[in-house]
């Protein structure tokens, strides 16, 4: 059987190659970058878009789901008001960074410049043969930001990196948080029915305390392929908070390497899956050294014909004793046609660890509903309160009140439209 030669390119695969051919001469990059792009394109041609036969894409058959590349629009549609008032804003519009500053202690460089001088070439490596997002993005990446947060810098207000897209947008965000640095970074994805890939690299150095919010609220026809690659150092604390409330086909990968003892990682995820959206959050996490902890809590609300996915893989390396890792995925299924797929995986190679996972899928608790109704709250309002509470519980873990309020507003807006 000849797999490669016999494979027929799908319309979307052909369109992707056409986009590359039409853009390749205009894309920034020195020779090292160009050869990385060529490698990625070749790899993508060989493998094709992943199907459900590729294990890591089992519930998100990209080849089947990505029927066409959204055409995009010339008209900007995004509301660019920051999520939190007073944040430093760094804008990227349709894949082009505006440039700018993010306050004292933060050095901002455009990724386009780092592609031109080749200093970003080493980041353009594939995670493996199933790394479709890495390949697509490496082939097409045009710009983004590199943020260097100085050792000991403590930022009072968040940095909001705003990725607004109404046309193809392929970007990178690289964040280096120095020793003992404290910051909240909001990676915000807004705009219309465009085709988007966005990769984030985050290094959290020793003793740093970082919160990274990924707020994806694109329009209902958008394709969003996100990936985050995280490195955590000694005694560092990282909270990654992912909230998906838009898009038609969404995959957000979170790959985390816990490299330093005494560190703590938290993943909090909210997937609001309505209409005919397909939203996938896939995490891989490696506890590589002793005495580290992590918790992952994913809350999903599914309505309409939405399909949500969470895959969570935790690996505990030999010698990573006293690892404490707990993962939970809870879903409220509000329609008969909605669907949620969840796959937890634990691979443990150390003998003195605590690891656990749990998953629930249910409707609104009838006893809770009854209780609220006996106080005179009509059924629809009572239901709304309970659904909101289910998700808000996770949002309220964030300490920044302005951020909590902004995300809860986003949640309420979504519920009003979808539930």
């Amino acid at each position: 059987m000849n797999i490669h030669a016999g494979r027929v390119q799908t319309a979307a695969e052909t369109a992707l190659m056409d986009v590359y051919v039409s853009k390749m001469t205009a894309l920034p990059g020195n020779t090292a970058v160009v050869s990385a792009r060529d490698l990625a394109v070749d790899a993508l041609k060989t493998a094709g878009l992943p199907t459900r036969r590729v294990e890591s894409w089992h519930y998100t058959d990209l080849r089947n789901l990505l029927r066409a590349i959204p055409a995009g629009s010339e008209t900007p549609s995004a509301d660019t008001k920051p999520l939190v008032k007073g944040s430093s804003i760094l804008s990227v519009t349709d894949g082009v960074a505006e440039g700018g500053q993010a306050g004292e202690g933060v050095t901002v460089t455009r990724i386009a410049a780092k592609l031109e001088d080749g200093s970003f070439a080493k980041a353009l490596v594939s995670r493996g043969t199933d790394d479709a997002i890495g390949m697509i993005n490496t082939a097409l990446v045009s710009d983004g930001y590199h943020l260097d947060i100085a050792d000991g810098a403590a930022l009072a207000l968040p940095i909001e990196v705003q990725f607004a897209a109404d046309q193809d947008s392929h970007t990178r965000l690289a964040i280096k948080a120095g020793k003992g640095a404290k910051a909240t970074i909001i990676e915000r994805h807004i705009g219309g029915d465009a085709f988007v890939s966005a990769i984030t690299h985050l290094t959290v150095d020793d003793g740093a305390e970082i919160t990274l919010i990924v707020d994806q609220e694109r329009s209902a026809g958008a394709v969003h392929l996100g990936q985050m690659n995280v490195w955590i150092g000694k005694d560092a604390k990282l909270v990654v908070f992912v909230m998906n409330s838009g898009g038609k086909l969404v995959r957000q990968e979170v790959h985390v390497a816990v490299k330093g003892e005494g560190s703590d990682f938290k993943l909090r995820g909210i997937n609001l899956v309505g209409g005919d959206a397909h939203i996938d959050v896939t995490m891989t996490l490696t506890h590589e050294v002793a005495n580290t902890s992590s918790t992952e809590v994913i809350r999903n609300v599914v309505t309409g014909r939405g399909h949500g996915v969470f895959q969570g893989q935790i690996k505990v390396f030999p010698g990573a004793q006293k690892t404490d890792a707990k993962m939970a995925c809870n879903t409220l299924l509000l329609s008969d046609e909605g669907e949620f797929s969840t796959k937890p995986e634990l691979e443990i190679f150390a003998d003195d660890v605590q690891c656990g996972h749990g998953a629930t899928v249910r409707e609104v608790e009838p006893q809770h509903l009854f209780y609220l109704m006996t106080r005179g709250i009509p059924e629809t309002i009572a239901r709304g309160l309970l659904v909101k509470a289910f998700v808000a519980e996770i949002i309220e873990e964030l300490e920044d009140e302005a951020l909590v309020e902004a995300l809860e507003t986003r949640l309420s807006d979504w519920l009003e439209k979808n539930a």
Partner: protein, 251 residues
Amino acid sequence: MLEIRNLHARIAGTETEIIRGLNLSVKAGEVAAIMGPNGSGKSTLSYILAGRDDYEVTEGEILYNGESILEMDPAERAAKGIFLAFQYPMEIPGVATLEFLKVAMNSQRKQRGETELKVAEFIKQVKEAAASLEIDFNMLKRPLNVGFSGGEKKRAEILQMKLLAPKLCILDETDSGLDIDALKIVSDGVNSLRSPDRAVLVITHYQRLLDHIVPDTVHVLYKGQVIKSGDKSLALHLEANGYADVIGEAA
């Protein structure tokens, strides 16, 4: 105010009949106690009055102010003035108690065609009611009943009752899990609501609560029927002699 006639009810989807021909009449201004041994149908009766759909009424009628409530959902019944203080109040994570109280009060006002409460007026009412029940206002910023002690939950139920000012108050084993001091606070809360246009149905195992909330009538429930009715001396008789002779008399 409340007229229950030949009520039969079973657990929905089963043949298990819990209420078997129950008759009960409670007048405005009256405090009626329902007593009975375990499994006699006391809690079931309270749930049926509140409108829980786990139970199915197969025969008979429940009239509230002359109107059948059987087709009304729990929220409609509440807006008409029926309130159930739960034996085991639900813990609801993520819903702040204050927010819940505001939504509940305004929902009822809306269903009655009244305007929403102004925030300042709402806070004032809650603060007053909370103080009278010795509830720390800060506790109300926490999620509804989550992490509340047994006594705090029962006081929170009475707080809701005070704020919603229902016309028919049903107290399901409100004394269970209360120490003497809490029992006193809760009973005072209930007594403060006694009025000529309001009826209270007190469901309890023990005479103890009835020392504090003195009933006008006492009804003994057994196997889903009221088998004996009397005044408060009936409760004392039960306390002294147990249910056996009353049950024997009826049989």
